[in-house]
Symmetry: C3
């Protein structure tokens, strides 16, 4: 008489469930702190994307590997999912293969342009109100207008992702998504309210794609990227960083957004950001300045200053300050509501702790 656990194990193997011998790596970030905007009450907020992830690599032999990664996002102050509305595995959900040819993955993740851009943002691409990435740096680009309201705007769902190996300092990242709809809201665009250019939950009129080329040589990193989203907004981006000396790193980026497909006039947005990291004491100063210039609208100007005090390689305290004037950072419907964006003029200060695990 065998024990029924053996039966269960057999059944598990049948159904492709078991194979528990793998080591899954759990990782994450928990970051919380005080945030005070001059026009709002004191809140508990975050600087980074709070996350919990599961990932693993399987050696298939012959230089081939299988890999997967799943990452959920959350708000540490209230315990909800990120923004309360985002997909549970908002960070990414991808599976794929890696070999001499590079890495190819299927699922959902940051677009090539958006992911590469984070390395050239003085605030590491963090969503902090002090940072530049989500609004000023990418000129308000919404990479994912096919997803419903409340989704993030810098990922592709339903996509294939390719990362090349690095050859002589060069590497290429690219992804392309299907046209399938994910509950998007209507986009009036060049249509009318009664007959919007893209109806609610419409399929894209083109396959969204994003491609970035990066070059590393000594102290220099540089990249160029191009992206076209499902409603044919086109983004071109350039950036570079240089480790000027042991303590100073400089970075700059320029982005041009072309919304001609959905806007009859004033269809261009230009943006640039410059920044620096300066090592000082047990941490570093962060400095950044940027402008976003939507055609026919007021410029957004932002200046930020911060300090990261390292307690270890994984944990630091931070203090940030920013001064932002101009447009609101919303990009939910870049082509539609550009005109409706309210003017903003605020200062914000934050103080918190970030812990990687």
């Amino acid at each position: 008489m065998k024990k029924s656990l053996m039966t269960l194990a057999l059944l598990g193997a049948f159904a492709g469930v078991a194979h528990a011998e793998t080591s899954v790596t759990i990782y994450g970030v928990l970051d919380a702190g005080f945030v005070k905007r001059n026009d709002q009450t004191l809140t508990i907020g975050k600087r980074d994307n709070n996350r919990l992830g599961f990932k693993g690599v399987e050696d298939l032999g012959g230089g081939l590997k299988a890999l997967f990664q799943l990452e959920t996002r959350f708000e540490p102050d209230t315990g909800t999912n990120e923004s309360t509305t985002r997909p549970f595995w908002q960070g990414q959900s991808r599976v794929g293969l890696q070999g001499d040819f590079g890495t190819i993955r299927i699922g959902r993740g940051l677009t090539a342009l958006q992911e590469t851009a984070t390395f050239y943002d003085p605030w590491h691409g963090l969503p902090s109100v002090t940072g530049f990435h989500a609004d000023v740096m990418v000129a308000g680009l919404n990479s994912d207008p096919s997803s419903g309201a409340g989704n993030s705007g810098n990922r592709h769902s339903n996509a294939v992702f390719y990362n090349s190996p690095e050859v002589n300092g060069f590497s290429v990242f690219a992804d392309m998504a299907t046209k399938e709809a994910n509950g998007s809201v209507a986009i009036v665009g060049r249509g009318t309210a009664a007959a919007p250019q893209y109806a609610a939950n419409a399929e894209g009129s083109t396959n969204p794609f994003s491609i970035a080329g990066q070059y590393k040589s000594g102290q220099l990193n540089a990249f160029i990227a191009y992206e076209r989203n499902a409603i044919e907004t086109k983004a071109t981006m350039l950036g570079a960083s240089v480790q000027a000396n042991a303590d100073v790193k400089l970075m700059a980026s320029y982005t041009k957004l072309d919304m001609e497909h959905t806007k009859a006039f004033d269809s261009t947005v230009k943006a640039w950001v410059i920044g620096a990291h300066v090592n000082y004491g047990p941490g570093k100063f962060l400095l950044g300045y940027g402008q976003k210039s939507p055609e026919g609208l007021a410029k957004t100007k932002q200046f930020s200053l911060g300090y990261e005090y390292s307690l270890s390689k994984r944990t630091y305290l931070y203090v940030d300050a920013t001064n932002k004037k101009g447009d609101t950072p919303s990009r939910a419907n870049d082509a539609v509501t550009q005109k409706a964006r309210a003017a903003v003029d605020f200062r914000a200060y934050s103080l918190g702790i970030l812990h990687n695990f």
Copy 2:
């Protein structure tokens, strides 16, 4: 002076929180690929249920063990929970004991009939549009009409599950659920729209239960199962598989559904599926053909062909094709909407990667 972490640990023990010395096993499946239906745009989809699970076994001594299992499901293409509407721990959430008497667990999981049936489906019970299990194989049975729309139809919530040990090749699986309601929609049945046979969120008129007996002898596996759901639909199922030789496995199943309790006429559905697995090269071919015959309605006929190319014991590439004609696979309200089901006639092709971890 003691450190407050000790205080915390003590408090944790008080509240029954700590005991971190256990090894929890993390497991899962990430599977994504291209799916093309002849009548739809190309999408990124899945073949298997994408899942992340946590399970553990504690040895209690004297042959007794405590065990638990929690399993969440998700869509890899968009990062949402499975179908966006299902319970977070859709896969299962169960706790129980195991000993010479077998295994007894409490919580939520697949019914005995549904779980056993997966072992006799040529597509392993996968939810792929190419597979047979969810629609044709179980004759459209909805095991859980007491749960709200968007839930799955092959589990029992609020149930007790029993798995016998295997004795001389025989084993028995059984479960019984309470009558409690979980937000179900109204089921007109033999009532009227104004006075449905089961009101919205009504309790079951009987305790749902499911029982399956399985026999293994040499190369032969066979089972018989019977299930009655909360609205007294009855399902009877038979199946067998035989490992004909080292490379060929054959399987067949037959299901009869009796909805007399909620339908005055045309209350029977019959279905059968035959299939084969044929080892070839570094993988195997899958073949299946099945029919579902709802009384008074057109038959559903489905033919599928696939190949799994193994990269390792845990990872494979797959290519599938299916041709399906007849009824739609929806079973949300089996007793109500049987008549309203639209005719379907499509072909679908898929290509992807499945990784167990």
Copy 3:
């Protein structure tokens, strides 16, 4: 030529993602059983909060540690999130530092009063209908009226938490939250339906805080706590437990609630609970009796008796019985609906298994 995984690893380090060398501790509780109320159908329910958590401690050197903890809650009978409506990380989401000064954490967690009270509840602070904590013991206190309906009422979101070290048996727990709103419903209070004292999603009129002092000396534990929530309800609580001999532990608590800020009259609720744990055989008996006396309303009286049969340090079977008369346990809007609460008079019995992992 480097492999692109290295590139990915570098990118990960850039973005502050990686650092996977840490050991994250996974822990949890899975508890399910039968619950029968004399006025309801038999259900599958729970005794404890079902949970899955992730936590870790990083040694920063010099006696300083960084720590984080994330804990989700769920219903084992249906697989949904706790109550289907609570934040995913309902249990807690906190990050902080620990040193000679004690522990300071930021995020969301139990208030000092609510957490300390659990150690003096004969049912360990469990949410079982048999237990006292959530209703009778804390006099119906809602610690978090700023959060939306469906949230729990014993936590502070957006808060800073401090736990002192234990010095000569004394320790102090305290937390303070911001005034920020989290989607609360309108609270009429001393206003009118048209002009409620607190509008929907109103900020608190004060910073919620909670403080508890605990003293341990030999067999005696005692505490005193004070809390004021965002709508200025004040709670004062006293409690003590004594290990009378090797087999008997006695406990008692008293709570006074003052809702004068939102109620013109009948603004006081008083409550007390006494209980005992008596070791017997491979487990222990639990006994408890308590009363809640809202001014101008009928008393709630509750008597409970239970037995925990230990299968190991981590797993036990339980049987509980309770008899409760008086007020309903709802506390969603303590100041508003106090009058509207329905009378209750029920007996409940439960039988189940609880497994810590």
